[in-house]
Structure formats: C-alpha cells, structure tokens
Symmetry: D2
Subunit: 345 residues, 4 copies
C-alpha cells in the first residue's frame, strides 16, 4: 500500500509502498479516506531537535485521519461493522497506570502516538486498537480527519470555565485557535475575541464566529480586551500560540478570578510575574494536552452531528497523498488554515 | 401614591392610595416603571391556603419590577445615581446565617419577600436595600421587570449540568419554562425539547428556540425523548410544572448519569421509584429555589446585554396598574405567557 | 475445582466440583484466597423474585474476592506477575457505550456481574478480564476480599460533598454503612452520626469512628441530628438502608443546601414531599450504584495502604467455603458485620 | 486608648494614645484581647518599598485580632450581643462589584485592609463593619487572633483539590505553612510532606502532623517527594514561600494532573518552563489571595470548634502590646512560629 514515511534520520519524507498492516487481537483495520496534516508532521519532515529525540525511523507518519472499517481483529466484538465510517484517537495509552485508571488517560506516561512512536495514518490503511476507534455516524470523513486537533480545541475551551455567558479570548488563530473560536461561539460565549499576526487567519477566525479580531502587530491586545469587557478582562483565555508575548497578554487579559488554559507550547522558559498576574488576581491556570479520552470525543460528536459547529471554513487546502510536500509548504507559509490529504474512499 | 394591595384577609385586591415609602439607611427608593405579574400574585388575590398561612394584610403586593432610582438613603455610597434604571432581587436575606455566609443566600431561612412578607412593587414607588438593587445598564425596564422569574429559569438551567453540547428537556412551558428554553438554547444546548398541555405555550416555547415540542395530552413524552436522543435520554431535565405526571416523566427521560433540576412545586407527596429511577441510573436531583445571589443576576445581565437571549416573545400581555384583575385573569386562563403591568416612567 | 453454585432455579446452593475456568485473551486467572459474602448472595440462595428474574443457572456465585495471579492470558502484557496479590471489580462493562466512554462505566447498561450474570468467585479459581483486576500491593487478601462493598461506601461518602469539616449522617449500619462511617472519619468529617435498629451494628459503627449513634427504635433521629448540628442538619446524608422511614429521615436531616447520597435500595415506590424536603431546601440528591471505575479503587488503595482506614473491625465472621450456609445464616440474622469465606492461599 | 501606629513615612513604629474609634451605622466596636503579628507588620515597620507605596500614615497597624463586642452601631440588628467573643475578616470590600456579587469578594478591587489602608487592630479597640465580624463561639481569642493567616492556609489547602486520600506537599513552614500542614492532616490527607530551610520550623511542621519533613539545604526535595509517592508526585502542592527555588520544586513535585496552589509571593518575575512543567503534565495552578468570604471562616470554625485542628503549637511567642519591637524581632529572626500580642481582656 502507499504510505508517507520518514525513511531514515535526517530531513525529508518519502512516498513509498509498504506492507499493509497486520490486524492483531483487539485491532480494527481502517481504509484511510482523509487525513489532516499538522505542524508536528512539518517538524518531523524538517527533522527538528524534537523529532530527532523522539522518532525511530523508518516510520509512517500522520496522526489525524478518518476512513472506513475494513476488518476487525479477534475479540473486537460487535461494536463496528465493515464499511462503517470512523476516526480514531491517536494516543494509544497503557490503560492501567494511575492516570489511565482515574480518567486522565490523556496524560498517561506510556502514551504511544501514531505517526510518531509507531506507524501512522498517511497511508492507504492503518490498524488501530478498537478502544481508540470512534464511530463517525453522519459526520463526513473530511471532518473526521480533523477531529484530533479539533479535540485539542474542545479540551481547551470546555475545561474548567463556565463558557455560557462568558467572554472568551483566543490567542493565536492557527487551525486549533480557529476551532476554539467556533467552539466558544457554539458553547454560548457572549463575546469571542481572537488574536493573530496573520490577517488571513484573523479572517478565518472571523468566519468561525469571532466578534472582535485583534492583530498584536498593530493592536494593544490587553488594552483592547479590557475595553471590550468594561475593564474586567476575559473570563476564559485560551492561549494557543506558545508565543512569549501572547503568554504575557494571556495573564494580563484574564479577569480577576478568571482562567487561563494553555495549549500552545512555549520554547524554553518564560518569565512570569506570578504575584501580580496569578496570585493577586486569583487566577486559575490549566495545562492542556491531547483530548480527554473520551469525553472530548463525545462532545465533538454532539456539536458536529447537530450542526452546531461547522469546522469546514477552517479547511483551506486539500492535496492528494503524493503531494505531501506541497501540503507541508502550505503549513510552513503560516497563512494556511487546516490542510487535508485526500487518500482514498 | 397608587398601589395594589391585599387590604385584609380574604379574596380580592384593591387599587388604592398609600403613603410613599420612607427611605432608611442603606435603602434606595425606586420609581416603578414596569412590573411582572406572577402566579403567586394570583394565589394571593384568591387567598389560597398558602396565602392565608403566610401573608399579614394589609400589604402591597408584587415582587417583579424595574424602574428608576429617585433617592438614595444614608450610607448607600456612589453605587447608584439618580435616574439610573434598575431592577431588584425581591428576597431580602439576613446576611449572617450560615447559608448567607457561604454563598447560599437564596436558601436563607430568614428571607423576607417583597409583596409577600413586606410591601411590594405594584405601586408607584418601592424602597429596597441597596444590596438587592441591580443596575440594568442598557436592558430596558420591560425586561428588567421580568428578571426575577427569568432568574429562576437561569438557576434551573445553569446549575450543575454542562449545558454546551447537551440535550435539555423542559417540562412545563409557563413563562419560566419558556425562559428556560431560550436560556438552554443560548447556552449551547444542541437540542431543546419542551412539553406543555397548552398549544399556545408550546408555540411560545417554539419561538424561544425549542427544537421539539411535545404535548403530554397526545404524545408519549418519555418515548419521544428517548427517540430524539438515540435511546439515551436527556442530559438535563428541567421540571418546571410541579405536576406529578411530569415528575415521573422527568426521571424516566433523564439519561443514565443525567441530572433532574426541580423548580415546579408539587402539591403534597409524590410517589417515586428511587431504586429504578435514581439509584440504578446514577442520576443527580437538585431543588431550585430563587436565584443565586447574585451570580444568577450577573449571568442574566451578560446574556441580555449581549443580545444572546431575547425574552420578549414570552411577554404576551400588558396592562396598566389599575387593570390588575384583567392581568390576573389572563394568567388564570393558562394560555398567557408573561403578563406585565405598565406603571410609570 | 471446588465452587459454590446455584445449580438450578429454586432455593438453595450446592458446593460441588466444576472445571477450572479457561483463560481467554486479556484474562487473568486468579487463585481465590478470601471472598466476601453479600446480601445479594443470600437473595440468590433464597431465590427471591430479583434472582428469579436475573439469574440463569447453573452459575457459580460470589462477587467479592481477592487472591493471587496464577496465569495471564494472551495480550495481558506486563501489568501482572505470577503470585501477585489482587482483587477485582466484579462489574464487567462493555467499554464503548456512552457511559463507558465518558468515565461512567459504573452505569454501563451492558454490565455483566460476576456471580450473577456469569460464574463468580466462590470457587478455587476465577478468570477475570485484566482491565478489572486491581493490584493489592501491601493490602492483605482479607481486606481485598471486601473492597467491592467498601467501594460502594467510598462512592457514597466521597461523591459531590466536601467531607473535610462536615457533619456526615449514615443511615443504616450494615457492613457498607460501617465502612461509610470509617471513611467519613478518615476523610476529615468533624462529626459522624450513625443510625441502625440493631445495637450490635451500632457498636460496630462506634468502633469505626461514629461520634454519635442513634437507634430509630428509641431515638427521634431527625431531632437528634438537628440537636447535634446547632439546628442546621447534616452536610452529607448517606442513606444505606433503603428503608422508607430512613429515607424520610434522610431528607429531613439534611441541612439547607446539603446533599443526600442514596445507596440503599427501597422496594417499590416511596412517597416524598419534594417541595418541602428538596426544592425549598436547595438539596442535591445522588443515586449511588457500584464503584467509579476506577477512581474509587484508587481512593481505597490510598486509604488502606496508608493505614488511614482500618476496615477489619467490620469483619465479624469467617467460614470455610464449605460452610456457605452458616455464612448466609449469619447475614440473615441481621446482627453480623462483614462475613468472609476462607477459600485458599 | 493605646495603639501601635506608623506615625509618619519612614522606618519605625510608635506606641501611643489615640482616640477610641467612633461607631458608625453598621459597625461593631470590639475590645481587642489578642492580636497576631504578621510579616506584613514587619514590612510596615521597616518601611519597605511596598509599604512606602501603599500606606498613608498616620495609621494604626495590625490586621489579625480577636476580642469582645462592646458596642453595636445603628442598624446592626440582633446578630451580636455585648461581651460576645469575635474575630473579624480584615478585608473590607465594596460589596457591589462583579467579584463581590459573584462570591469572589476576596479579589474585590476596592478592598480596604485594616492596619494598612485604615486603622487596624494593634489597639485597645477597633470598629469593624458587622459584615466582617465573625462570632467565635467556644474558640478562645488566642486562636481567634490568628484566624486571618490560618484562613490563608485553609484557602490554600482546601481549594480545588480532593484532599481526602491525597499526598500534600507544603513548601515553606512559616506560620501559614505550619497551619497548612495541620489542615491537610485534619482534612484526610494520607501523607503530608513539608519543607523549610529552618530546622525549628520543620519541628513545628512535624508537631502539626507532617509525616515527612525536608530541608532544601540538604535534601533533594523533588527526588524525595517522588520517592515518597511511588514516583507519582504530590496530588496537591501548597507553595507558601514565594522563593524561586521552591516554585521550581512545586511544579516538578506535582503529579501528572495534579494541582499547585500558590500563596507565597515571589518578588519580581520567575522563569517557568510551562511546556514541561504545566502543559505536558496537565497541571492546574491557582493563585491564593486572602480568605473566601466567608466560606473559609465557616470551615475554620468547624475544624476548630470540633477540636479537629489545634493550631496552638504554632504559637511560639507572646508579648504585651508595648513590646511590639520584640515581637517584630522574633519574626525577623526567621525562627519564630506565630507571634501574638496580648492586649486586653
């Protein structure tokens, strides 16, 4: 079958033929229809320090996908039928550590990620543990293919804050930030403010429902957020960029007693004034990683099936599997929304 | 000044002249613009057993209102300005019992209710403790006058359940039930199902955003709710009727692990199968009384000021103060939405 | 191997030889050391209406146990080692329904219970899915054998209420009620009040840490609870008896804004005054079934391993497997604490 | 009356005679029996930059106290009786901002603190708004005088974490840290680990119930915490020191999905690796300021009245009012527990 593979240490990817995966006990074999391309895939292609420290080539990459069930391994039971459209959680967890046992599998220390630690989804077929496979129902595979990053956004927006009636600030409008804007809107936020340095992304945020869009290159973000909130600040700040400037804005834009949920990954250390920005203000901060397994998936399905969230405006580019390099270039440009590979049907 | 008064024990009300209230320390005197008429006012007029046991006439009735500040008593400070539009929480609480001290003033045992335990709002003026007075900002007094019952609905819908992405069932579509429908919709419910035996009220529920309306006289409510939820049941059930049949439906329509918030007051005892309906199903039940003081008011203002909730379709009748009898007749008919008195300006 | 079996429909049990269970993929075979006898086992022996409607004999009974791992089936991985002491959650759930997927496996509708729906633990060996098996660490199998009912008590005491600093009322001091007393004490309750009609059980409650014990046959429970709480009522009421009188006491003894967690199963309907007992009082009610899978197990292990909870005073009787009839008689007497079978080592 | 006053800008305090406070509407006049001396009082005496920026001398200092009611101003009602023993919350808040209206008065932006922004408690008498006055019941004034800092500790330990069954790490064992140790113990923690560089303070922590005490000068705190928790880390970390090293330890000692509550005030910015320490670990951080008004006070009274928390081991020094300089020296030494002034009776 066709696959996109990191063949050996060093920059670059190859499109090649590899054997179809075997289907072990508890596994489901899935024909991949669509797959989402992520910044992580770009890091792997570029062979950045993180990739060098983590991957053991050769490995088929790709961790966001949806497709159709073609085979169920022994012990899978009657949960899935052949031809059923599905997507999957790409974090394969141990299931018996303390985190897994107490509803926090998203921070299992033994997590193995498809497309990173084991063969992934940029291929004609992928075998996944049935536990990780989620039925799509009436959700199309174009949407199913981007539920992994959308789940990051759901996890960020819907954890810990009472979103209905609140003001939500989203810092950074890459695809996950844009999803966060749409989710906050659908979840009853009364005002959604979004920031990004890229006007194209701000336009995507606007289409996803942002009431106010700010460009940190030209706008005083903190001042504008305070002005939009009668001087109170935002109830919930979703930091999606990892940029040090945005982190400072995050804490200074949160209201007294508000919440800052951090998804964007800063590189290295960030200097924070915990006294004035967190302690005196009674702020709560939460680190977001992955998706709640599987509360987040349930939330996504209800919002998507009911039509209360339409993520498709975020999808700006589609390529066939063979054009992975073009797909990665679109991401590297910084102006793309979500980029999808069209693999099969 | 003019006032509507229960002059003495027994049925009936009188419209009469009474002295303008005095303004004590910490009080705010308010010129009443609009007032809402409630089922409680009907009970008082009819002098039902509850009214006989609770009221000590003569008393000016009415507890839902909005108007303009005309005078601030000593010690009120700079919170209010003359002419400012305001409404007020009608439960005057002791402030120092355990409930008041721990954020549960709505269940203070020493609560004194305006229009019931002390002179109320169906009058040209009312004096209220400044603590109870809430600035309206850009919310008109027609809306301000109905924030008391709307607050009951907010308290019911937004307590304990994660409304975004959920299915909400509202049993009973009087004015508070209709508000609940609109609130659930604005708070991100993906499906709102409403029931009532009165087609006019179901039409109001529809206008407030109900996706599905059911008439228990002709529909099998439990079966229909299950059919609308893939057999799961509703995530949140808001019981607004107090009717024994609706209570049974409430428990049987809630999903496993779901929530039943009870606002409607059943008369006397109700037989419940706690084993099958609550325990085996892991259901949570919550008794709703009044409004959270003052979280609920803050929520209302954000939803109303932002335009995310428009309660005005629920207002079906308006009368001048002198026509209180006509107003009560409209309520007694069972077909009215919210009924408002136009008192001053 | 030896086993205690319901051989056919009708009253009675038999001790007999049955084949050792086979160990399928994902299964762990356990040599049973100790097993707990439960009121459910008595219902099965007596062949009461519930048992008639649920069981399909022949079936080996028993669902509370602990022992040593003797074999791991294919796919179990390195979680368990031969000889390791373990216990197990007896509810085998589907793993993919909405409840299972959102952290509520304890209310999975497809639950299969060992000793009821499939062969159980009153035998020399039992095969369990590895997912359900919990390592005991330094907890002895006498304690491990009673972690199933202890888990019911943990679930009841530690759900939804802030126990530290609170007054906890436990209605019904069978083994689970006695565990609840000890758990509330260990979890920082400042006062634990326990009720039962049986003086022996009240003595057990006292030994588990009850500050006040009341006998409803001679004490006015509601009045005494109010007297012990400055007239406020209990913060958390744990109803462990299912008795209609106790249910009434439960609601009338809860403080305003308090919580009533229901574990005891009432037979048939119970008449409740929801207006005065739940709604006007702002009370929350929660139906407790099973154990949170597996948060409850984690809680138990921390309390037991640290020595902060010693459940052994509750164990009043021990019998060899062959004396199951004597064990059931002890339970039927109403004066026993927890009854254990000593099966192997 | 006697008072300890900052007479003018610059270092030093004076013991002098000042007029007895007047008792306005809503005020309670209190004869001070005991008062607690705080690090803040030392900062004021030393006239550090914070004090220079905040205080407007002359001002009577002191914000921790307890005593007896001697007079109630107009409008106070029947809540207090002459001679009743009371303490008081020293943060006087506006009562009508968003924070005050939604149960977060502890972060009211218009807070006026006694002994800082207005005359305080190091005097024979103090007048306080009745709202801020808390009855002591059977709690002695020596304990009442230290409920302000104890409330900081309650707020830190009991916010957001499920303490029963958990491992709590307290970094910094000044008086508030020592209180935190005792509270965690009383609230059902299964293990309490405490750190400080001062052996005397570690001994106080041990007396308050710490299972493990660590000295960062000689112990590898993070390694020891991991060793004490099977490599998991602490469930709840209470950072009471504000020291940069302790802050780093706080994040690295918290378990995956754990919680870090920050009370100690770092000076200036602190460099944090949010990616590895917060985001990848799914940690929640909360800034603690003041006491929840008045949930924290209710919690304190239940723990203290029931005898479940004895804070007196923390009190190491007592001085008469005139010896304030000696009291401040004891604090400046870094080896004191809590220091109390004995003022009246």
């Amino acid at each position: 079958m066709r696959a996109i593979r990191k063949p050996r240490p060093g920059p670059g990817l190859e499109v090649c033929d590899v054997p179809k995966p075997t289907v072990g006990p508890g596994d489901v074999l899935i024909r991949v229809h669509h797959a989402g391309v992520c910044g992580t895939d770009l890091h792997i292609a570029q062979w950045d320090p993180w990739a060098q420290g983590r991957l053991h080539p050769p490995v088929v990459i790709g961790h966001e996908f949806a497709g159709a069930v073609v085979e169920c391994g022994p012990g899978v039971g009657d949960e899935f039928t052949i031809g059923q459209l599905v997507t999957a959680e790409g974090h394969i967890i141990c299931g018996h550590c303390r985190q897994c046992r107490t509803g926090n599998g998203h921070i299992c220390q033994r997590t193995s990620i498809i497309g990173v630690d084991r063969d992934g989804a940029f291929a004609d077929y992928i075998a996944m543990p049935a536990t990780n496979v989620m039925a799509l129902g009436d959700i199309p595979t174009t949407v199913g293919a981007i539920m992994d990053p959308m789940g990051n956004a759901f996890h960020t927006v819907l954890t810990g804050a009472e979103v209905p009636g609140s003001v939500v600030l989203v810092l950074g409008c890459g695809p996950i930030g844009c999803f966060a804007v749409g989710i906050a809107r659908a979840a009853g936020a009364v005002k959604v403010i979004a920031t990004d340095v890229n006007p194209t992304r701000l336009e995507l945020a606007r289409r996803m429902g942002a009431d106010v869009v700010l460009n940190p290159a030209t706008d005083d973000v903190v001042a504008r957020v305070l002005a939009e909130t009668d001087g109170e600040g935002a109830d919930l700040v979703c930091e999606m960029s990892g940029h040090p400037t945005a982190l400072t804005q995050a804490f200074k834009s949160a209201r007294l007693g508000g919440r800052v949920n951090l998804l964007g990954l800063p590189k290295g250390e960030v200097a924070l004034n915990l006294s004035t920005d967190v302690i005196f203000r009674g702020v709560t901060v939460y680190g977001v990683i992955g998706r709640r397994m599987y509360e987040t998936w349930h939330q996504m399905r209800t919002f998507l099936s009911s039509g209360h969230l339409d993520p498709m405006p975020v999808v700006t580019h589609r390529f066939p599997l063979e054009q992975i390099d073009a797909a990665l270039e679109a991401i590297a440009s910084g102006a793309a929304g979500k980029v999808i590979l069209e693999i099969g049907d």
